[in-house]
């Protein structure tokens, strides 16, 4: 019986990435452990090729595989960010892994699979495809969190992440099954058509419960309050470059999925989900600002900072509409640069060949490593949202969107919590510039790391001068989501 082969072109980058990952497994398995560096660079190359292919294969909104897979300008924007974050994270990992003696060829391959999972999440057009994409990504991340398997902390991080992640997947699936049960379909297109023009109050309560569970599961993946409890331990326990990766790419993918699901099929039920998003957004912003103050470990601090930033990004989602989504997209792009740069600085925190993670260890950095201190200061100022750095614009766009949507409380709370959060960001700057140096960090800094640091630093610093490309493509991406 002849069977029509589905259109493969739109999914070409994903297919390429999957094939590349499998080919690299074979390469690594036959070449042994000494091939790690080669495999890492080949993985980066594969990501770059995929990044080139993504916009090439996507001219307009296309669905394939019987409508399970969709690609559009929104997907392109998010996938580019994800691929960039993954590639940089692999480059950042290489030196670290070799020093810590955990350099194994499976590491970049798991990165590739995680990235593939994220791309599938971004392109999901069906509840089952959504779930499978999340699982592919999460499973790779669980393993990566526990990658330093000989230390208790890393194993603990992996296990905690796994158990809580499985729980959240369960909630997500429960929500999906409710939605399926009450609508008879898992397809986003069909759901969107079903709800088009429907008054939100008329849909059945079962569907709403399903939607709530779905949102809870997704909130878990972006680590928004009250589903944030895994993130500090996982950030602290996982190897630092893995933490950098966690902070960058999966956040973007989960946020993309959040937007895709809520704006796409459930766009017309906005009144039903908006209050949930507002609640978790406010809770995340406040907790991110307050809980980080007492932290002494820089990785834990970054974890709480991440919670806060997710809260700000969700402000844009709560605002909804093209402007709100555009705000979220810009926020995620700028956040990616800031967080990767910050983790580059954290990866430089090495005394006598041993990693240190205390915030106090940064004291007097300006005297021993002026350039690193300058970069870190830029990122901290930017994260706290001080003009004219990039982080300021990120916040401006989401808050404007909130105000335009009439969510004044949200915007006010956002600004207030930014002020509180500025306290701990600026404390780091104060430590670096005004305290007496403790022990100097090891020199020299790796070349790849230096390049990333410089690149992200320049982007953060001079974003205001030339914001066009990011703003325009984010606007195009947001528009694509509302076109269909």
């Amino acid at each position: 019986m002849p069977v029509a082969v589905p259109e493969l072109m739109p999914a070409l980058p994903e297919i390429f990435l999957a094939s590349a990952a499998m080919a690299l497994i074979m390469f690594g398995a036959f070449r042994g452990e000494d091939s790690t560096r080669t495999v890492s660079w080949l993985a980066v190359l594969a990501l770059v090729v995929a990044a080139i292919a993504v916009p090439v294969v996507t001219q307009s909104r296309v669905t394939t595989f019987a409508g399970l897979f969709v690609t559009d300008a929104f997907a392109v924007f998010m996938k580019e960010l994800i691929l960039l974050g993954s590639a940089l994270a692999i480059i950042m990992s290489m030196g670290f892994n070799e020093r810590e003696k955990i350099a194994r060829f499976e590491y970049p391959i798991l990165f590739l699979f995680a990235t593939l999972g994220m791309m599938l999440m971004v392109s999901a057009n069906d509840l089952i495809a959504l779930y499978l994409g999340i699982e592919l990504q999460s499973l790779s991340l669980y393993v990566l969190a526990a990658f330093r398997r000989d230390t208790v902390r890393s194993s603990e991080a992996g296990l905690k992440y796994f158990v809580l992640g499985a729980l959240s997947s369960g909630m997500l699936l429960y929500g999906c099954s409710m939605i399926y049960g009450f609508t008879g379909t898992t397809r986003f297109d069909v759901l969107a058509a079903m709800f088009a023009g429907v008054d939100g109050a008329e849909v059945s309560v079962g569907l709403i419960i399903g939607l709530v569970f779905l949102v809870a599961g997704l909130a878990f993946k972006v680590a928004a309050v009250p589903f944030h409890m895994w993130i500090p331990d996982v950030y602290e326990g996982a190897p630092t470059p893995v933490t950098a990766f966690f902070a960058a790419a999966p956040k973007i993918a989960a946020m993309a999925l959040f937007i895709r699901v809520l704006i796409g099929p459930f766009g017309d039920l906005a009144d039903q989900w908006r209050q949930i998003i507002i609640f978790i957004s406010i809770a995340s912003m406040i907790l991110g600002a307050l809980a980080a103050i007492n932290q002494t470990n820089i990785k834990r601090l970054m974890a709480y900072s991440a919670i806060g930033h997710v809260g700000y990004a969700l402000v844009g989602l709560a605002a909804g509409g093209e402007i709100g989504v555009r705000g979220v997209l810009i926020y995620m792009a700028i956040y990616l640069a800031m967080v990767l740069g910050t983790f580059c600085c954290i990866l430089c925190m090495r005394v006598h060949g041993r990693m240190v993670e205390g915030i106090d260890d940064l004291a007097g950095l300006s005297k021993t490593h002026p350039m690193v201190a300058l970069a870190l200061a830029i990122f901290m100022f930017s994260m706290s949202g001080i003009p004219p750095l990039a982080g300021f614009f990120a916040k401006i766009y989401v808050f404007f969107a909130a105000i335009q949507a009439g969510l004044y409380t949200l915007a006010v709370i956002g600004v207030l919590s930014s002020v509180v959060a500025a306290f701990y960001y600026l404390r780091i700057v104060k430590l670096m510039y005004f305290d007496e140096p403790v022990e100097a960090f090891d020199r020299p800094i790796e070349r790849g790391m230096g390049v990333i640091l410089a690149g992200t630093g320049v982007f953060t610093l001079f974003f205001f001068a030339y914001p066009g490309p990011v703003l325009n493509s984010a606007a195009a991406a947001a528009a694509a989501l509302f076109a269909g």
Partner: protein, 204 residues
């Protein structure tokens, strides 16, 4: 018809009873054995529904492979589960509360149950008539065409699981001599055997 109903209640009853025993059995190995019993009876229920392929796959995969590994682990672990259960009562109130809330929600949901008027139209693929094809055939047709994308991702997830298991547990042990069969086979006679002419009464 009555035989079918009786069989159904037999299978369903044993499944539920075995499920209860899985949770309440004191010995963990017994729990796993009851789990297997529950699987087998669920397979029986599948057969009653005419889903013979699913029934057999349930037995092959869950009973024949997954539960064996379960049993392995439980037998080797030697955990005192009674001790683990000590804190159970302490968490009973909150657990019970959550259970109650979920139950109330479910009741609410079922109370509000309406079949969407256009649900029938949205069902992706109508089921073919049973006399036209077996359900193995039908499953294969849909799994490898319409859902090939999901099928492949599921495959990738399993691959990642395998890679992850190996990464996290495989350790190259020092001082273990491995048999290299290829090297053994490649060996030539001259390398292994040395012929010596032994002189009479001389020894070597």
């Amino acid at each position: 018809m009555i035989v079918q109903a009786l069989t159904f209640y037999l299978f369903a009853g044993i499944t539920v009873a075995a499920g209860v025993m899985v949770v309440s059995a004191r010995n963990p190995v017994h729990s796993v054995l009851f789990l297997i019993l529950a699987f087998l009876n669920s397979a029986g229920l599948f057969v009653l529904m005419g889903a013979e392929f699913l029934a057999m796959v349930l037995v092959v995969v869950y009973v024949g492979a997954v539960a064996v590994l379960f049993l392995f682990v439980v037998m080797m672990l030697d955990i005192n589960f009674v001790e683990l259960r000590q804190g159970f009562l302490q968490y009973l109130p909150i657990g019970g509360l959550i259970g109650l809330i979920l139950l109330v929600e479910l009741v609410l949901v079922i109370g509000a149950w309406v079949v969407a008027p256009d649900a029938a139209a949205t069902i992706a693929e109508p089921m073919p008539a049973p006399e036209r094809m077996t359900n193995t055939h039908a499953l294969g047709l849909i799994l490898y065409t319409r859902y090939v994308y999901l099928f492949q991702i599921a495959g990738l997830i399993l691959l990642v699981a395998m890679v992850g298991a190996i990464v996290l547990t495989l350790r190259g042990r020092e001082g273990v001599r491995k048999q290299r069969i290829a090297a053994q086979v490649r060996g030539r006679r001259e390398e292994r055997v040395e012929l010596k002419k032994v002189p009479t009464r001389g020894g070597i």
